[in-house]
């Protein structure tokens, strides 16, 4: 078989690209694009969205299966024009019917609807001719990303019959039939080989004809294979990356870690004493985010800022003036001490709090250890409780914590994360599951700003998010400490066209769905 073509360090010759992404498991050879455990193996490679939305370039849109789209003025209806001449890789034509089918499949199978579109916003999806009309229950500007950019389109003739129709949730999809640039050919538990789809609708693409996706179960071998040049596209944390990776071939071994969301300390706002804003502000003054970033995250994840805007990714949304005025941009232990004193705490009478975190997230453990050390001399005695994942969730969702260390999914812009973290609709009383507003923040002004965001024009949108940032600075409901990044290492020896800081045409990690399709379409062998 030809599956082993990528090995032996010289993978680049012959245009074989090998991906080093630690999945922590061997491949199940299931490619169901709706299964979040494996969707990064098919969505982007085989399945495609209607459009591509670039989070790094202010949501710039690239048409994919939809050649164009049109919003209604009230943003309650969206019409896609489906690209002509696109074929499923089994030779059948892809039509607007397939698109409508995909959305309606999600409607009849909530187990597929991972963005909860039907339960929150979708009203109906219908096809006629080459048009697909999507109707929303409410103005749905921010949902464009989920509907158009984050929904894989599947074929009706596959998912509408047989095994797939019976239980699409548990459907393995061993031989995925999609429109994307690659076909699975073949899949083994230790390696997936993707070969170029000759009938791909963008002629001449992809230029890289074969992609190997080995199943790395652990970081070390993936790191080694990247370092040796055996693999060209990496997506994980490499400790001591200079020593381990870059120095092996400084000319070609590169990395870029664009941040996307915040890692934050969530306060329980419904519990004493964390409901006391003075104490929260004391935290914000006390924590040296730069040091947390350096020690806890080896400096790879940059320090966050109190506005909640991920920098530099979402730089244009940043309310720099407000941030400066608030004074959280550098640690100020004196202020923290004073605030604590006003709340009645001091090193001799310390404030004792527990922070919960997830067992196994060692970088978070290290960050928290650093935070704990920074707070101790000021009179805050932090105890770190490492909890098993679902115990953690249970307590986080129900609000059973003083502080929690956590990070949310976010989206292509700060709005998404703000909405998740701050909107009161995502909150719940203590003891009941909150959706994402775990600190249980409730501020009508913020809710209103977030609600208006969908219909507003760009200038207004900036104003609205300024309001939110000011609330963040004033109320300190959460403290962003560091910024989660897209881990990305790349080797320029054999391939060109990599996304870079100066050409951020997509989020660059190989596991970033469906951005990886854009990268694959940009890459080209050097010779």
């Amino acid at each position: 078989s030809s599956a082993t073509g990528g090995g032996n360090g010289a993978g680049a010759s012959g245009g074989v690209l090998t991906i080093a992404n630690v999945a922590g498991q061997t491949w199940t050879c299931g490619f169901n694009p709706f299964n979040p455990a494996v969707n990064y193996l098919s969505f982007g490679f085989v399945y495609e969205p209607l459009v591509y939305v670039n989070a790094l370039q202010n949501n710039a849109v690239t048409p994919m299966l939809a050649s164009s789209y049109q919003w209604s003025p009230d943003k309650k209806s969206l019409v896609f024009t489906i690209r002509k001449g696109v074929k499923w890789n089994d030779g059948k034509p892809m039509t607007a019917q397939d698109v409508a089918f995909t959305f309606n499949l999600m409607k009849s199978n909530p187990g597929l609807d991972f963005n909860g579109l039907w339960s929150t916003i979708l009203r109906s999806v219908t096809a006629s001719g080459d048009k697909v009309t999507v109707n929303f229950k409410a103005p749905a500007g921010p949902y464009f990303y989920y509907v158009a950019g984050d929904t894989p389109i599947v074929a009706q003739h596959i998912y509408g019959s047989g095994q797939a129709a019976k239980d699409p949730v548990k459907f393995q999809d061993a031989h995925p039939v999609g429109t994307g640039p690659y076909k699975v050919n073949p899949c083994q538990s230790n390696n997936i080989t993707y070969t170029a789809n000759p009938d791909f609708w963008k002629p001449g693409l992809p230029k890289v004809k074969t992609v190997n996706y080995p199943a790395y179960t652990d970081n070390d071998p993936a790191n080694l294979d990247l370092a040796s040049g055996k693999d060209q596209w990496g997506g994980q944390f490499i400790p001591g990356i200079q020593h381990l990776y870059v120095s092996r071939d400084p000319a070609h071994h590169k990395y870029w870690f664009p941040p996307t969301t915040n890692v934050a300390l969530y306060f329980n706002l419904k519990r004493q004493p964390t409901s006391n804003v003075a104490i929260r502000r004391a935290f914000a003054y006390a924590i040296d985010r730069a040091k947390v970033s350096k020690i806890g995250e080896s400096g790879y994840q940059p320090p966050a800022n109190q506005t909640g805007i991920v920098l530099p990714t979402f730089q244009q949304w940043y309310d720099a003036a407000a941030a400066k005025a608030a004074g959280f941009d550098h640690p100020d232990p004196a202020k923290a001490t004073q605030l604590l004193k006003s709340a009645g705490y001091s090193p001799s009478h310390p404030l004792k709090l527990h922070v919960i975190t997830i067992s196994g997230y060692t970088d978070w453990d290290a960050s928290l250890a650093e935070i704990k050390q920074e707070l101790a001399p000021l009179g805050i005695d932090l105890t770190i409780d490492d909890l098993a994942g679902n115990t953690f969730d249970d307590r986080l969702f129900k609000g059973d914590f003083d502080l929690a260390y956590y990070s949310q999914a976010g989206g292509p812009g700060p709005y998404y994360e703000f909405r998740q973290v701050l909107h009161s609709a995502n909150s719940a009383p203590l003891g009941q599951n909150a959706a994402s507003n775990f600190e249980r923040y409730s501020n009508p002004a913020v809710d209103k700003a977030l609600n208006q965001f969908g219909q507003a024009d760009t200038a207004t949108q900036h104003k609205l998010l300024d309001t939110v940032q000011q609330a963040m600075l004033r109320d300190v409901p959460v403290i962003p400490t560091t910024e989660s990044v897209n881990w990305y290492e790349y080797n320029t020896a054999a391939f060109t066209g990599w996304p870079t800081k100066s050409n951020p045409y997509a989020l660059p990690a190989p596991w970033q769905v469906p951005d990886e399709e854009q990268v694959l379409l940009h890459l080209a062998p050097k010779h």
Binding site: N8, N190, N191, G389
Partner: protein, 327 residues
């Protein structure tokens, strides 16, 4: 025969106990598969996904605890361990079937090798009591038997892989780019990958066998029947194996069965250190991924493996020791 029946009864009882523990554990803890799955994707998926997951896992319809216990026992007995979270939607049994051969291959072979080699060295050391071998063996192997498995593995990695620029592979069961097949190249690759982890198990577990075998030998050698063997003019080889070693082996064999649990425990860490795709590694991965169905099935599998080995030892003991047959 009665002896074996008794052991069989014990086997069944232990198995039942392990299964019951397994049943009880998740029910004592918060959460369900959907939230566990959710927890796996921290920060990666939209919070709305929880609903999708609950549907996907068909989170428990309300059944009485006894009914659940009944269907659990039934399912387990028929090899139905549920659906893995890590490998959703594959059944756990499929995953285990993939890992089992590796564990049996590596740990089984290494453990049996350690046992055989240890028994042999112990035999020789005990036989030549006070000789050169015997003056070195006890202190050295007392120390090696106290080494932490995972640490030995890491030291070996350092010596034979990191410092020697990958002289021996330290990761996985075979090169990730190879296709499993029965070709010499692939088998050679597998063997190469097995060297370091096997060596780790060997180094850390052999001491125990050597020491107990040596001590048994020393005890047995003082027995009159060994002297009798010499008096009969038998060759040393024959006395050593037929008379002394065989008798010294019997208590060791039971010890072997009894301490298998310890060895397997250590081997789990070895698999972890070497990312060896066996049950132990899978177990720790399942722990990291909060894959409870997989975890439970693995724990049960490992228990069964140990129990079967124990049972085998019992059979062999019965075969070698006529005294147990009547008992």
């Amino acid at each position: 025969m009665r002896y074996l029946l008794r052991r069989l009864a014990f086997f069944v009882l232990t198995l039942w106990a392990a299964m019951t523990v397994n049943f009880a554990l998740p029910r004592l803890m918060p959460g369900d598969p959907a939230s566990a799955m959710m927890a796996r994707f921290h920060g990666r998926v939209n919070p709305e996904a929880i609903h999708a997951l609950e549907v996907a896992f068909g989170v428990d319809t309300h059944q009485s605890l006894w009914a659940q216990y009944g269907s659990y026992l039934g399912n387990t007995a028929t090899g139905n361990f549920g659906i893995s979270l890590t490998y959703f939607p594959l059944p756990v049994s499929t995953e285990i079937a993939q890992a089992l051969p590796w564990t049996l291959g590596l740990i089984g072979v290494a453990t049996v090798m350690a046992f055989l080699a240890g028994t042999f060295i112990g035999t020789v050391s005990g036989w030549r009591r006070g000789g050169v071998v015997d003056s070195v063996v006890p202190p050295v192997f007392v120390v090696t038997s106290a080494l932490p498995y995972f640490w030995v593995g890491m030291v070996l990695i350092l010596l034979f892989s990191v410092m020697t620029n990958g002289l021996l592979p330290n990761d996985g069961a075979y090169d990730i780019t190879m296709t499993p097949s029965l070709t010499p190249a692939f088998i050679g690759n597998v063997v190469q990958h097995a060297i370091l982890p096997a060596a780790t198990i060997l180094i850390t577990s052999i001491g125990g066998w050597i020491l107990t075998m040596r001590n048994n030998m020393v005890t047995v050698l003082a027995e009159d029947y060994v002297r009798m063997g010499r008096a009969k003019g038998l060759s040393n080889r024959r006395i050593m194996y037929q008379y002394a070693a065989r008798n010294a082996l019997l208590p060791n064999l039971t010890g072997f069965a009894m301490s298998l649990g310890f060895v397997v425990s250590g081997a789990i860490l070895v698999e972890y250190v070497f990312n060896y795709p066996g049950l132990g590694y899978m177990l720790l991965n399942a722990v990291n991924n909060l894959d409870y169905p997989l975890m439970q099935a693995l724990f049960l599998m490992i228990t069964v493996a140990v129990l079967v080995a124990v049972l085998l030892c019992d059979f062999v003991t019965a075969l070698l020791d006529p005294r147990t047959r009547g008992a």
